[in-house]
Amino acid sequence: MTIAPAQSAKVFELVASPAGIRVGLSEIRIHLRETGLSDCRCGTTEIVLAEALNNIAEHAYEDCGVGDIAVAITLDNVGILIEFTDSGAPLPGLSPPAGNPPVLDAPSGDLPEGGYGWFLIRKLTTKLAYTRQNGQNFLRLRMNLRGAQHAPGRTFGAWSR
C-alpha cells in the first residue's frame, strides 16, 4: 500500500473532552484512510492519537472538558508526523514521562489499571519532542509506518530521543 508523498500538514481542531476527542479521532481516521493508509496502520495511529489527546485533556486541561487541541498531521513516504498544540498547563518537569512498562508480575488483585498511556506512546513512536512556549504546549511525535527502523533524510530539530 503506497502512502501519499510528502504533503503539507492537515490541521484538526479538537475540543479537549472525551466526546470531543472521539469526534476528532473519527475525522482524523477518515483523513488517513483517504490518503491510502491501511486500516491496520490507521488503527495503530489512532492508539497513539487517543493516548496523547487523553493526556492533554486530563492533565493540561485538568479534565475540565473545555479547551482546544490542534492536531497537525503530515504524512510522508516513511511515516507520519503528528504535532499537538494546546494552551493548558505544562507537563510536570517540562518533560514527557518515560512510559516504563507497567509491572504485570503481581497478584491478579494488584494488577495496575493505569500507566499504559505513555508506555503505548513511547512504544509506537520513533521520535518524541515536547516544548513549551508562550503559554502553549507543543508535542511532536513521529511514527514509522513502513516497518523501517529509521526514517532517512528528514530531521525535525531537537528531539528528546
Binding site: 472525551p18 466526546a19 476527542i21 472521539r22 486500516d39 491496520c40 488503527g43 495503530t44 489512532e46 492508539i47 487517543a50 493516548e51 487523553n54 485533556a57 486530563e58 512498562p101 507497567p102 504485570l104 497478584p107 491478579s108 488483585g109 494488577l111 495496575p112 489499571e113 493505569g114 499504559y116 498511556g117 508506555f119 503505548l120 512504544k123 509506537l124
Partner: protein, 112 residues
Amino acid sequence: MDLSSSQHGAYHLITVKAARIDAAAAIAFKEALRSATSGGTDDVLLDLGQVAFIDSSGLGAIVSAIKMVGPDRRVELACLTPDVEKVFRLTRMNSIFRLHSDLNDTALGQTG
C-alpha cells in the same frame, strides 16, 4: 454502556455492545461490568467482538474486571478485533488474559 449476559457452557458470557471502550466510556463500562458480575460464581467470558477500539482507559477498565470477580473466578476474553488485540499485545496483557479467537474456541473451559 450496553452489556448482555448469558450462559455459555460453564461461563457467564458477557457481550459488550459498544464500539469503543475509551476515555468517554470507561467509567460507564466499569459500572455496567460491576453490576453484571456481582453475586456471580462462574468464570466470566467477555465477548469484545463488537468493540472496534480501546484505549488505555478501556484497558484499565477491563483489567478491573479481574479484581471485580475476585481470585476464585477467571476472566477470559473472546473475539478481539485487530486494534483491540494490538493494545493487549503491546502491553503484554495477552499474558494476563486468555484470549479466544471466537466463542467456539476449543480452549474454552480449559484451565491448563
